[in-house]
């Protein structure tokens, strides 16, 4: 294992220290429990958006803390969900009284820890919403699995809902928007190489010199299927079609009811894409793939979308939700209506994403 790290046990803390020292104008880092939060938090009158998850996906989530995006991010150990005390303390630190929205990627660990945190925060008098992101079309059904994983759409959701909070949306409006944006987004990922969790010291899985792994998540877990290595065009087309041809997806999610003070089940159905849709296209590097190669993927993706009558109206290309140094990419398409586009275009100022300011 060759990495720019010191002792394995210090990796997350020292990276957070680096972030704190580099971006003191935008954010602060609280240690023990660990969370990254806006330098100007709590922001008066605004709903606080909090996300979090295992480390190793940088810039997500800590790099998205700042004006117009997240108010706080809770980083776990590498590829390990954070613990409820992190989210609970972060919520107390950034809640302005307008409530807190937790954006939670759908992994059992994340879900359970965020749920526990939501209960703790609510018990403390903070109004909470807990919305799951589950956009990975590599997971086909929700009946026999823990449901689709939260992947690329997370980045887009955090930007869009962050802008909504900045614009003064209420907690419930933020939650409704968050749920809707998640339902509009679908993603698919692939890996050319594995990656090495520092604490493990060796690659999570082995991949032959002429193989690739299709349908991976973001935790270095093996994916849906292993295939012989192929061209950028074939890879882009395969992933794009998995997304564009994905049928309706339904599942039951658990959300918090502030009035009842308890969890409620919601049955949700994501409609498939159709000709005429406008989308935000996001081509993401898994960390080790340089942006140049992403352009080859985007090139073909744009052609496939055009063939399907789907219009790309915005795009994001680069390493935004990564799996350490893994080589590979993911594609996310997000159906965008006028409200979503307006929020996408709104100013954002974070270490990882910045425009309009």
């Amino acid at each position: 294992m060759k990495k720019l790290i010191n002792a394995v046990d210090d990796v997350v803390r020292e990276q957070l220290e680096g972030m704190a020292s580099a971006h003191s104008d935008l954010l602060k880092v609280h240690f023990d429990p660990n969370y990254v939060y806006r330098a100007d938090a709590p922001v008066a009158g605004k709903v606080a958006i909090i996300s979090g998850g295992g480390s190793g996906h940088e810039p997500m989530h800590g790099g998205f803390v700042g004006m117009g995006m997240l108010h706080a991010a809770c980083p776990g150990e590498v590829f390990t969900s954070p613990t409820p005390d992190q989210m609970y303390e972060a919520a107390k630190a950034v809640d302005s009284g307008a409530g807190v929205l937790f954006i939670v990627k759908n992994y059992t660990g994340d879900v359970l820890n965020f749920e526990t945190a939501a209960e703790l925060a609510f018990a403390d008098g903070i109004r909470v919403q807990n919305i799951l992101i589950d956009d990975d079309v590599a997971v086909k059904d929700s009946l026999y699995t823990a449901g689709r994983r939260g992947v690329g759409t997370t980045v887009l959701v955090e930007k869009i809902v962050g802008a909504a909070a900045e614009a003064g949306y209420s907690l419930d409006a933020c939650a409704d928007l968050c749920r809707r944006v998640n339902q509009y987004g679908r993603s698919m990922g692939m890996a050319l190489t594995s990656c090495t969790v520092p604490a493990a010291g060796k690659p999570t899985f082995e991949l032959g010199d002429a193989e690739m792994e299709i349908g991976i998540g973001i935790h270095g877990e093996p994916g849906q299927k292993r295939m012989p290595m192929s061209t950028a065009d074939e890879i882009a087309e395969m992933m794009a079609l998995e997304i564009l041809d994905d049928p309706a997806y339904s599942r039951t999610v658990r959300e918090w009811d502030n009035d009842a003070g308890s969890w409620v089940d919601k049955f949700l159905v994501d409609e498939p894409f159709q000709a005429g849709d406008q989308v935000i296209a996001f081509v993401n590097s898994m960390g080790g793939t340089p942006v140049s190669e992403l352009y080859a993927i985007y090139r073909k993706l744009a052609q496939v979308c055009a063939d399907k009558g789907v219009t790309i109206v915005r795009n994001l290309i680069g390493p935004y939700i990564t799996s350490l140094e893994m080589q590979g990419c993911s594609i996310t398409l997000l159906k965008a209506d006028a409200e979503i586009l307006k929020l996408w275009d709104a100013p954002v100022n974070t270490p990882g994403l910045r425009w309009g300011i």
Binding site: T83, T108, Y144, E221
Partner: protein, 211 residues
Amino acid sequence: MSVTRDQIVQWLENLAAVLSENKEYLTQLDSAIGDADHGINMTRGFNKVMEKLPGVADKDIGNILKTTGMTLISSVGGASGPLYGTFFMRSGMAVGAKETLNREDLYELLKAGVDGIVQRGRPVLADKTMYDAWAPALEALRSALDAGMETLPALSQAVAAAETGMKNTIPLQARKGRASYLGERSIGHQDPGATSSYLMLKSLLDTLQPA
């Protein structure tokens, strides 16, 4: 026989030792169908519990168990953190200020803990989770107590049922947690959480049983 506060403390200490001995084993099980951290997670959590325990070892059993639960919740992470954390929180709430437990109290302790797991994780039988060890164990314990058995033999039956439940996870296809993403590839491997749950119950029995 009634279970004392000191025995509960002893149980937690033994459990910490057992989990630490089985760290590699649990992690290895998790590497087959998960993300290779279950042993690491559990050890990290119970090491923290060992740090906290001296501070509450003279409090009531409810307090001890709730502290254990809070500590696990804030140090384990992953799926097992909130699940085991909730287990101890709920079991602590169930026994309350008691300083000794009779056999029904012990059942209530475990039952409340398992109910917590179910509420949090919503497992059903044969999902290939820790619940597959707990459900038959609780059932066996209930039957044994209903049949008038003493604490130790009843608990023995529960441990045996947990072991069978744990082994029965091997042929199952996972439907909850990380392992569920593997689909059929999850078949043929023993669930790490069911294994740590079995170890938990087993070390309770070992603690109470005169050597």
